[in-house]
Subunit: 229 residues, 2 copies
Amino acid sequence: MTAGASNLQFEWIRRPQQVRSQRTLDRTLDAAVEVIAERGLANATVAAIVERAQSSVGSFYTRFRDKEGLLRCLHERFCNEALATAKEALDPARWRGAGIEEILRELIPFLVSIYRTNAGLMRAFLERALAGSEEAQRGAFLQRAVAGRLALLLEDRLDEIRHPNPSLAIVFGLRIVLTTLDHAAAFEELTLAGPSLRDQALVDELLTVFLSYLGVPERDRADRGMDMG
Amino acid sequence: MTAGASNLQFEWIRRPQQVRSQRTLDRTLDAAVEVIAERGLANATVAAIVERAQSSVGSFYTRFRDKEGLLRCLHERFCNEALATAKEALDPARWRGAGIEEILRELIPFLVSIYRTNAGLMRAFLERALAGSEEAQRGAFLQRAVAGRLALLLEDRLDEIRHPNPSLAIVFGLRIVLTTLDHAAAFEELTLAGPSLRDQALVDELLTVFLSYLGVPERDRADRGMDMG
DNA sequence: TGTACATCAGTGAACGCGCGTTCACTGATGTAC
DNA sequence: TGTACATCAGTGAACGCGCGTTCACTGATGTAC
């Protein structure tokens, strides 16, 4: 419960004791991500994953209690990385002197790129959360944590926010952005190559939604990309 | 393809030829909705559904080609109803003289109530769409249809919209609202009783999001509910 | 440095559970004369 | 109004497929002396 250490992954699996088995574990995790992204969660059978990892079924079960264990491991690993990234990216020291629009102009494209890069995983996580697994709770925890840090950052800039309840607006606005990206990752074929035009449109509109909802006074749109930074 | 008739349901099942079997079919559909809502899609087995319907497995398969057939039937039935409702609710004649805020103040609470009432189904539909079934396409079709009608309505009121691309903003704004409601239905325990306080907050914030995103000038919030209507 | 032993890691055929689907059968409804 | 027949509707035990999981076994790595 005390969310102290940032590196909690693998707690439910038997940790490998030799270099060889650590490599096998790494290959298995990578293979799982690939297979899930390619075929979807339902078709990502244990057999398919271990084949891709050039491992074996028995080996799989010496590391993971069951198939759930693997999925939880992937989710926890992702959440830990996301949390660490959020801590760094939203560090108040990093944004001293910056306005809300400036912050969101960095944050939103970054979120979009994360969801694009990990579309297959995000989709699988959404499926599992829907099916009622514990991923739903860990995901909610992550979102609250990120929202809390964003709130710390933006609540230092209350003079820019006209929404009558800034704390609520910050949390709800982030929720809307993340929810939309969840759906986008699940239902749009986001290419794994560089950012597409559609991504740019998504970024622009999400930014407009968030800023106008918070009630941040609008700068001239033509200024875009010509900021002092 | 020509979306003519509004009543397309049951096209892939053998239509019953006696009153008795029509009743059985109705009971089966109702039972499916109940079981799905209570236990989730994964635990809604054919056996559980026919037991609830006081029917039998064999009877089930004389009506539906397979289990998919049932789920498609439920989805198509829902979409047809939704489409018919949208046609009526968004009929321009009904809103003559009304402003955008007035329209959205009716639309959004209505959408919230639909998602609350059908939370179990909406969750199941989302699961199936995620799993890559054809529900994803029919759902997208429905959303486009509703968005089209909303666009017709709001584009007659362009003078109220400050967003530089009103057509885009209307479609994207609706998408954000529906996406958020999808998530809410899936992840929040919305009570089946009357509207809760949380619903009211959800309505308020979604309304603010949509209006501010479109760039509709804000009326005094204290006016709420005291309109001329 | 070499041998013996213990533990770790990996293997894949076989098992078994759950659940969708089938099928041989009984009962109900409608129709012809 | 009653009897014979055809079709529709319903039944539930049995089947079988897919996939997660187990288990008896082989091979690899590390350690003691």
